[in-house]
């Protein structure tokens, strides 16, 4: 950890091009930024090796058949919120889970193919997790925007 990677302006310019089109060729990016393709290639590889960058396909909720999306805020009682969150995160239906400040302890997103799946999720899965005092849902009736270009990056191969 001695040499913390610091992105410079060239790195940032390349990332910006890749955000716009992740499949642009090294040559296309090089032409636009007045660099060589070799430089572009080396910069991308360095950021990827440092686990600072992933150039990926993102897919729409609909590509996965997720027709139901809801946010659930949870109050925890008698148990560490981090433990409760970790246990909840093991369910594939739990799409994201965060420990949060404020009135609630955990904020999570649940993605389902169908409302019918909610019965099993509530009665057979969430109900077995100790420490949940209350769950307060907000059902998404429309997802206007949902795209994160900044995220924790897992090491390659671990995914």
């Amino acid at each position: 950890m001695a040499d913390e990677f610091i992105a410079d302006d060239i790195d940032r310019a390349i990332v910006e091009q890749l955000r716009y089109n992740g499949r642009a060729t090294n040559q296309q990016i090089a032409d636009r930024l007045d660099l060589t393709a070799a430089t572009v290639s080396a910069r991308i590889r360095r950021m990827e090796d440092e686990n600072k960058l992933r150039v990926v396909a993102v897919s729409d909720f609909s590509a996965h058949g997720y027709n139901v999306l809801m946010e659930v805020a949870i109050e925890v009682d008698g148990r560490a919120a981090s433990e409760v969150a970790k246990e909840l995160a093991e369910f594939p239906e739990v799409f994201a889970a965060h420990l949060v400040t404020g009135r609630y302890d955990i904020d999570m997103l649940v993605a389902l193919h169908d409302f019918d799946e909610l019965t099993d999720l509530m009665l057979n899965k969430f109900s077995k997790v100790r420490g949940i005092r209350s769950m307060s849902p907000a059902i998404a009736v429309d997802v206007v925007k949902y795209k994160f270009d900044v995220a924790p990056i897992e090491a390659r191969g671990a995914a």
Partner: protein
């Protein structure tokens, strides 16, 4: 409810590309035992149908300690869609859902400094006509997260060029 739009080959393609979008069509074709033309055609269709988009994701570290906050918004019901669109147009807001529950819009925001969060929540969102109340909670630890599944909108609709 929509019928499944994709088949197994599409799913395999998405699997490969969601790990690394810069793999060549030739390599994908060889790995999946199909022709390069098939790979190109499939990718194009998935993009056209707005099922996939190619982008760059950077780690929290590259962007100097990015944090996430959830902003619950109570807005006038008859204007909710318009207000949601306005909130979605804010650059630091990465997610916006119209919801039924404790509030009627949920915005998810990335920020570096608390000041910036205050600006988004209390100055920008609260200032939109029809917004009555905002409630902010900050994610102090992320336990699970998936940046690969998103809502693909018009703005991401870039079709690969044939070259």
């Amino acid at each position: 409810m929509s019928a499944p739009l994709i088949d197994d080959l599409d799913r395999q393609l998405i699997g490969i590309l969601s790990n690394d979008a810069r793999v060549s069509n030739r390599k994908i074709a060889a790995d999946l035992g199909v022709t390069e033309g098939t790979v190109r055609g499939r990718i194009k269709r998935l993009q056209q149908d707005r099922l996939i988009a190619f982008t760059a994701i950077t780690s929290f570290g590259l962007e100097n300690s990015t944090k996430m906050a959830f902003i619950g918004v109570l807005a006038e019901v008859e204007k909710v869609r318009e207000i949601a669109q306005q909130i979605a147009s804010l650059t630091s807001v990465n997610g916006v859902m119209i919801t039924m529950g404790r509030f009627n819009i949920l915005a998810i925001c990335l920020f570096n400094e608390l000041d910036a969060l205050h600006t988004v929540a209390s100055e920008q969102i609260l200032a939109i006509p029809g917004v009555h109340h905002v409630e902010t909670s900050i994610a102090v630890k992320t336990v699970k997260y998936n940046a690969r599944v998103v809502r693909i909108t018009e703005a991401d609709h870039i079709i690969e060029t044939d070259d």
